[in-house]
Subunit: 167 residues, 2 copies
Amino acid sequence: MAGHEPSAEQPRWLDDDEQQTWIALASVLLRLPGSLDAQLQRDAGISHFEYLVLSGLSMSPEQTMRMSDLAVVAEGSLSRLSQVVSRLEKRGWVRRTPDPTDGRYTLAALTPAGWDKVVATAPGHVEEVRRLVFDPLTRAQLRQVRDIGRRIMTVIDPNDRCLEQGD
Amino acid sequence: MAGHEPSAEQPRWLDDDEQQTWIALASVLLRLPGSLDAQLQRDAGISHFEYLVLSGLSMSPEQTMRMSDLAVVAEGSLSRLSQVVSRLEKRGWVRRTPDPTDGRYTLAALTPAGWDKVVATAPGHVEEVRRLVFDPLTRAQLRQVRDIGRRIMTVIDPNDRCLEQGD
DNA sequence: CAAGATTGAGTACTCAATCTTG
DNA sequence: CAAGATTGAGTACTCAATCTTG
């Protein structure tokens, strides 16, 4: 392994089969998020992260959440969320107010225009998810996707919300 | 669906089962790349994209590739690659030269120091992939991961390299 | 002073020019 | 003029201060 002369053998750290598996998974990890982002950007002019923020709020009681909880739902840092919500506020889709019960929290609330945006955007996004994930897979594979995803999440973050729900 | 008064019912675009499946997959899509990036940043001081560039070169004959081919392997734009390779060149791991057979191409070559960097970095990275993906899954699930990944890639990009390999 | 949130500086990325070679 | 590559301007992100409330 001294230097990189032509004869140097590339060490193999995964066997052939594992290599194939990893390439297939890595391709999806690298390309699927980009495809979803592209669809949202093209059809709705928002990023995937912005969509997660808006749709997270839309599914919350009163369409309102604390910034810190919203950061967990959208899987981003509080700092990133703060900057993105500023933009969403400028676009008229979200409004922030201090939490009346404890001024340290900030509540983000979806405006009526924000609700309309979610309603207008979600069907196309779900359609894309169906096209890229649900349609090409069998029912058995979809069950596997759920189990496999949860197992991996158990290692990455044992407290993740996707592990809370019973089968 | 008029406005967002408390009584407004949130339309459900996926059934319960699909929702669970999608949450599990989305969690992995959002968090696994970040975990891999964090490990590389912490242990080797490089991003995942930089790692893909270096390891792509290390597996290529003569440790050399055209920039445009390297962009495909690393799954990034040529513009992004160009800027990242400039940084890698400054760090002494890569060297660029015009292709002598056709001056429109640029060849990126791993330097000896770049080779050493890959050799020093890859085992820890592979270890992390094992810990997060291979270890928590059964052999049957790993076969599923490969098949499922390929099916999804067939829709995203029918020309992707992960689909080329037989069986 | 701890926890939530925001701000600002620096870095990385995207997208549309631009440059270069054949 | 087409294809490969780079550059520059603008945007988005990260990380380390800073601010604010209890």
